[in-house]
Symmetry: C2
Subunit: 624 residues, 2 copies
């Protein structure tokens, strides 16, 4: 070991090390310069240690006064107790300090474009600047903790899958294009001149082939790519836990995966998830929550009041019902004081909110001083009012909101409105928001009382999970005038619905399932088609006659009749899971080198212009 | 659980299950049809169970007679003992069989293009056919075992790295081109019109940035891509264990990685590797083995006989020495009977062998009946002969082979000749060849004695590993008339050689190291440059003045002066390690979906022609 190399990390020294001569390596977080002493907070991935340079050694002291933030140092010294009253309770090394005997500058550092210290009084730097200098941004303690968490999440997943007998298997990056609904990234092939590989949107077909090959239980933390525009929660490259199993039915997959979800929440956040998770049919989810990924951290379910509305004298409701539509509503408990009549009336902010989702309008009532009020109240005779009050469990202070429209519009509008009100009325809290509030108070209190802050405890009610099941197999695409697959074309129809495939495709349900956490889809999968005839029939339904299907998916159709076992699987979005476990809503916080269209200077930001020679070798040219 | 679903796997049943009613799911390996019984060997990933269908139930028996190879079945039945004398000692389920009460065909299978049973009397199918129907080829037991091993190898690696405090971190697939010496795969960017991403040849620069960001210990099982032609041991996509550590020197990396190598050999093959591994300088490796990846399973080291040759009267030797060249030789012990004089003379097979490596010729002697013979013997006076015999430890039956040439040619030619002779003279055995011989004998013996075969024991001498160190930093490229980096441009020069960077680049040694196993490079890495001035100087040496370097690697140069710690790392070829641990020399045996230019029909084989619309969106067009 070279004499400059560390004997301990910056998070390691305790009172048990008092009097020992040790060497630390790390970065200068901050220096505090006094006439006879220089204090340096030396930092590495493992923690922070206070180094003190006394003025006894004049050369050393002079050098210490030259040190700046983010200098890389090797410090050899003796561990001693901090002077009384200067101990820090908030860090594990807070009882001791290192009295420097030798300081080596391993690398200097000029002033940086932004601070990486994350002191509470600092404004965070602009995100584009942080992404441009990502290697500096990645030094922030908070992002280091997230990326360490991401490592642990992957380890927990792999250990769980291994313990359950799954084999991690790699599938190719360069392959054929398969239909996943998004745009492929293409790679021109030098060998197959004029042809392109596609980068995988998922390993879907490879994992099905692995089942057909008898690998029985497969998984992969798989890199997938979709050439889509950037969003706060979407990157063109993403990672998914990709799983496939043979000889299973739906419940085998659900049981396995909810066990993993419980493991992740337990090991990362200490939360115990009650299993089995609730299961909701797609139909019920749409009816009660207006969404196939309901956030059930709060109630305020959608209520169908078609029967009551039919007894009213309100023409709008009656016309919609007569045309086969629905009348549904929400009871926003205790929200009367929150929303003025002008918020509610046509053109008001709630009304404007639902029209974004194609609803023609928002009808409403309030319950004040024991009676219903509002513009449509007059169309409801007392007996009908009583039924409404009963059905929607109306109390003083409640606001009732109604959408009358065709079912899909009513679901969308009320589902979105429910989410919006859940947030506006603070019907739930994200655990990280609650933690931030707690931490602010607790840190102050702990500092005052000279004790370590008590950590925030995440509670089971912060995580509401469920399965959504029995999705429809097809949706009719009005633009393309054809049926499209809601999951993907390899999803199996329910056995009892196979007979309806051609006669009534809209009624066919799929053996598909989504895992939903706090209103986010955190996993989705299906039992797959394992019979060649059914697969061919589904391709046909999707506008792909056998000849076309054979050209594009011949290998799959062949494989399905070469001894394909029943099989199914699921994919979990790793980035999304890391966001939830780390407590962030920005996907760029959980990816070491995210894409950002503005940060073109860093190698991760933008592609490079290639040399004409390279294009020539590939047989492609750029259009003018 | 559905009634067709398995209660046990095909590898699970033992005598403890006798009398139990169980359900198995699996594939028909083979059927044996008798007048009153049908025997089915039912197979899954876990093993093989004999199913017997008696003719008591006529419908069932008739159905059983329709079953073919690779049908997928669910069989419910009762576990019973096999009849005496029909037990199989070679499989764990060999004492029992399943008396079928119900058989469900989950999927049928027509006759396949080739057999997947791997019976000893079957010719293996042609590799192209096997790759075309890869999903069938992957059913072979031998390849399933390799891919299960690959999963274990990855698990062992990840557990080892995690235990040692390393974080697995993902780096982008879409990035800028960086110089790794091979051709990049390029991906046209729709957003950055006219620009291309490059797929990574390695995560080299990202992992250095992670060190600069303070992550301290990073690893990744990283997918890398190089647009090179296929070979038996090379695929365009490959996986490497990619490692980087901060605040380390060379020996820290070596110690860590040889510990991992020992873990892999121990856990996968039961072999104990003696640590620390031997370390050899590049110079010594070239001198003694003529190779920077010496196979030291056998001796027959190269001997420099320059001093002896200088005392001879052989003009060829003396001229070469006078011109600054070398005279070196091998002693092929006991090989006199193996090589006739015509093998040795100019144009003979050994002579022809060395001329492939640019050697002008091969001089030789034999030692027969106590004296040296051969065409050049006459130029060696007795006293010189005595020195030669002493130096090369010559005994009766030995063949001495000499190359006189400039040093690099002599090294190459004798190094290749040494490897060639090592194989020809059977001076070592690959463990899998020895295993195959053992298995053939042992299986016969075990069958005869009705016992389970004793497994082959891999021995420590099957694995000879070493480190090669102190590589030169630069090589002069005669074609390009400039210095090129032997490792990569980010490799640090030895501290004591930094001063020579510009004045004598050929003498500068790099802090680079290669891990060598049985003559294969199984890992390579270096301590990196962590000082911006040194990096700029190295770029300049490689023909990249600061301005160019700034344009291509500005982010790296900036990062190096923003608090970069000393750091270094290594990459281990996962595919190569799997080949060695699995005992195969074909890389396509260790990759589930390898590339093969001929197998164009399978999705893995060749890229697809894309639609003109897709090209238009990307702003590229194909050249005519």
């Amino acid at each position: 070991m070279a004499d400059w190399q560390r004997t301990h990390t910056c998070g390691e020294l305790r009172e048990t090390h008092l009097g020992q001569t040790v060497t630390l390596n790390g970065w200068v977080l901050i220096t505090r310069n006094f006439p006879n002493q220089v204090f340096v907070d030396l930092r590495d991935r493992y923690g922070l240690t206070q180094v003190v340079i006394e003025d006894g050694d004049k050369a050393l002291f002079a050098e210490a006064n030259q040190l700046g933030r983010e200098y890389v140092l090797s410090v050899t010294g003796v561990v001693r107790k901090r002077i009384a009253g200067k101990e820090r309770a908030d860090i594990p090394t807070g009882q001791v300090e290192l009295e420097a005997k030798a300081v080596r500058v391993l690398n200097a550092c000029p002033p940086l474009p932004f601070s990486v210290t994350e002191f509470p009084d600092e404004e965070p730097a602009n995100e584009d600047l942080r992404l441009q200098y990502r290697y500096l941004d990645l030094r922030r303690r908070s992002i280091q903790q997230v990326l360490m968490l991401r490592h642990r999440v992957c380890k927990i997943i792999r250990d769980y899958m291994d313990t359950n007998g799954f084999l991690e298997m790699e599938t190719p990056l360069l392959g054929k294009s398969t239909p996943e609904g998004a745009r492929d990234y293409l790679v021109p092939s030098r060998v197959f001149n004029g042809e392109f590989f596609a980068l995988p949107q998922s390993p879907q077909l490879y994992k099905q082939l692995l089942m057909i090959s008898g690998y029985d239980k497969y998984f992969q933390l798989a890199r997938c790519l979709r050439d889509e525009d950037l969003r706060a929660d979407r990157q063109p490259e993403f990672t998914q836990l990709d799983v496939e199993m043979s000889f299973v039915e739906r419940d085998d997959v659900l049981t396995l995966m909810e066990g993993l979800a419980a493991d992740l929440l337990k090991q990362c956040l200490g939360v115990t998830l009650a299993l089995p998770l609730p299961r909701l049919s797609y139909q019920d989810a749409m009816l009660r929550y207006g969404s196939d990924k309901p956030d059930n951290r709060f109630g305020m379910e959608i209520i169908d009041i078609g029967d009551v509305a039919g007894e009213s004298e309100f023409k709008v409701f009656k016309d919609v019902l007569a045309a086969g539509g629905v009348v549904r509503g929400l009871n926003a408990k205790n929200a009367a004081a929150k929303f003025s009549n002008s918020d509610l009336k046509p053109g008001g902010k709630l009304s404007a909110f639902v029209t974004q989702f194609k609803a023609k309008g928002l009808a409403w009532m309030k319950c004040e001083a024991g009676k219903l009020t509002g513009s449509i109240e007059k169309f409801f005779p007392d007996a009908v009012k009583a039924k409404l009050i009963e059905k929607m469990q109306v109390e003083n202070g409640d606001v009732l909101l109604f959408v009358a429209d065709k079912e899909s519009v009513a679901c969308d509008a009320l589902g979105a409105l429910r989410s919006h009100l859940g947030s506006e009325l603070k019907l739930y809290k994200n655990w990280w928001d609650e933690k931030a509030e707690y931490d602010a108070t607790e840190e102050k209190a702990a500092k005052k009382e000279k004790r370590a802050p008590n950590p925030f405890v995440v509670k089971p009610e912060h995580f509401k999970m469920l399965w959504v099941l029995d999705f429809p197999m097809f949706a009719f695409d009005d633009e393309e005038r054809r049926w499209v697959a809601i999951h993907h074309p390899f999803t199996a129809p329910m056995d009892e619905d196979v007979a309806n495939l051609e006669s009534n495709p809209g009624a066919v349900r799929a053996k598909a399932y989504d895992m939903v956490l706090n209103g986010y889809e955190v996993g989705g999968g299906s039992i797959r088609i394992h019979r060649q005839d059914v697969q061919a029939q589904v391709f046909k339904m999707l506008g792909m006659p056998l000849e076309d299907a054979q050209a594009r998916f011949g290998f799959l159709l062949d494989a399905l009749q070469s001894g394909a076992p029943p099989h199914g699987g699921i994919a979990l979005g790793l980035d999304r899971w890391c966001m939830i476990l780390a407590g962030t809503t920005n996907i760029r916080d959980v990816i070491a080198f995210p894409k950002n269209q503005k940060a073109r200077d860093l190698m991760t930001g933008a592609p490079a212009v290639v040399e004409p020679r390279q294009l020539k070798e590939l047989g492609v040219e750029l259009k003018k």
